[in-house]
């Protein structure tokens, strides 16, 4: 075989392998989604959304867990987003090039990938222990701590994309800096920032580890933020590992609900980001 032919064959093999690797990745996604639909659809029923988690052997739903997840996600987003946006603003607008900002940026990137169970331990130590009991507040705080680094990252990136001429034009009209940022820069970057918040919501909607030692779980309906509260991820964890068939069915139903919600949020966020990239 000539040298040229050999190189061509080697190239073909290499490219086929890289194609195969991508196919493997996509097949994983399809397999997971298929299993979720196959096992999750039978769990769909009217009572899934109206009845509370049942004791083993009787009928029930996930209403209390869905409620708990929604409430804690909303509270965590409301707490985490402002802190994240302010920090991102500092990094992009005030701290450019300062050593303090460099350290904050580095720490934020570490927090972004730090194990979420560590956040759970931290919140247990600073909230649950002093309060003396598990609570939905503690769970919300743990989730808020996960929201912050995601929002910081996207906010900084989006503000950095805003052209400097906008800042200069606004300042040249005599606009004070806080107005420049709030009314010009934020307005130019709002879609990207919104994308970041949606990605953060998608991230915490399925987080389980930080809730295990903070919000714990609850068999019953409660709207009391000061008490342990049921939430979808921890209920899935408990029910999937139980030996009871009807609990496992509910776990699959919850898993499907969470995944569909999160994938929809992700795709929406991407569409929003793509749309904002095209409008100048």
């Amino acid at each position: 075989m000539s040298r040229y032919a050999r190189r061509r064959v080697a190239n073909r093999i290499y490219l086929a392998l890289s194609f195969a690797a991508t196919a493997v990745g996509l097949i994983f996604l399809v397999l997971v989604l298929y299993a979720l639909l196959r096992n999750g659809v039978p769990a769909l029923s009217g009572t899934l959304f109206t009845a509370a988690t049942p004791p083993p052997g009787s009928a029930g739903g996930l209403a209390n867990a869905i409620y708990g997840s929604v409430v804690m996600t909303v509270v965590a987003t409301l707490v985490g987003t402002p802190v994240g946006i302010l920090t991102g603003t500092f990094l992009a607008e005030f701290g450019r090039g300062s050593p303090f900002a460099a350290v904050v940026r580095f720490v934020n990137d570490i927090l972004l990938s730090a194990p979420s169970i560590i956040i759970g331990l931290f919140v247990y130590q600073i909230v649950v222990v002093p309060m003396g009991h598990f609570s939905a507040w503690a769970g919300s705080i743990a989730l808020a701590l996960i929201v912050i680094p995601v929002v910081v990252r996207t906010t900084e990136n989006m503000l950095a994309l805003v052209p400097n001429s906008l800042r200069e034009a606004a300042s040249a009209l005599g606009t004070p800096q806080w107005r420049v940022i709030m009314q010009v820069i934020y307005r130019a970057a709002i879609q990207g920032m919104l994308t970041g918040v949606m990605l953060a919501v998608a991230r915490i909607a399925g987080e389980t580890a930080p809730l295990l030692f903070t919000a714990l779980n609850n068999q019953f309906w409660t709207a009391n933020m000061n008490a342990p509260m049921a939430n979808l991820p921890v209920v899935i964890f408990q029910f999937a590992l139980s030996p009871y068939n009807d609990w496992q069915v509910l776990a699959w139903g919850g898993a499907m609900l969470i995944t569909v919600t999160i994938l929809a949020l992700n795709i929406l966020a991407r569409l929003l980001a793509g749309w904002s990239n095209q409008t100048p």
Binding site: R7, R8, N11, Y14, L15, S18, F19, A21, T22, G25, L26, F28, V32, A35, L36, N39, V83, L86, T87, T89, F90, F94, F100, V104, F106, V107, N108, I110, L111, S113, A114, P115, I117, I118, L121, F122, Q125, P176, Q177, W178, R179, G206, E207, T208, A209, L212, F213, P233, I236, F237, A240, L241, A251, A255, I258, T259, I262, L263, N266, I267
Partner: protein, 318 residues
Amino acid sequence: MAIGTISGQLGRQREFDATFRAATAAAALLVLLLLGGVMVALGVGAWPAFSHFGPGFLVNSAWNPVSDQFGALPAIFGTLVTSLIAMLIAVPLALGVAVFLTELCPPVLRRPIGTMIELLAAVPSIIYGIWGLFVLAPFLQLTVQPILIDIFGGIPIIGLLFEGPPLGLGILTAGFILAMMVLPFIASVMRDVFQTVPPMLRESAYGLGATTSEVVRDIVVPFTRTGIIGGVMLGLGRALGETMAVTFVIGNAHEIHASLLAPGTTISATLANEFTEAVSKLYVSSLFALGFILFVITFLVLAAAKFMLFRLERQAGG
């Protein structure tokens, strides 16, 4: 308008400016304190265990809540081995995905396929857990593991890795699931760093008659070496701390076996399983100590990853 009111207005605006600036700086400081706070809180929680067991805690493999004997070795061992398996599977796959997306894929499909790979990263850990428990583990137990035992079981030394009955749950299964979970993270970093290669370098190589595989091997990979390592470390950081998926499939046994088919545990799985059931003070503190060890390991790995990626960024910028 009188001069006085204008200067008053200007003064007020300056105050607003200062307040806004201080608010953003305070938020930034909060983020900084958060990391410090995590370290201190874990350290305080872990202190009783560290002072009671001494450095021996790290190498002791006992884990007996009844007699209050705790050692971190089985959990550390499981954490490292599962992450290693995950990296061995995920890194070559991620490289393939990145090469496919940057060199091979028709531009129309680039975004959809890239997005689908990234969606793999968006699926929460617990979903991989329930899938691993009910779908992957039975499949491995009935199909893959018997074949592995047949092929490798008889070979000396390597055979030790595949000793024992096919349980389905264990170190190997956990490594498998972890590989699926970190693949998208590594692949998307690699794709991004591959795109930093100046088109001129790539085109000159093609112009000299290099094939695509030669361009990747001799131009793209050497140029982005630090970035690739950074991406791999980022994936490793994720794999080390992954909790829920591993908890479902690892078998949760505080044991160290040479066999990859045997059950084991990781730091995060131990925390998830035992923390709310821990009664004695020393038990809780030992779990905090495990958390502290995990935090230190992931911090070092992630810091190294950031450093590598930062170096590539500077190289690409300058």
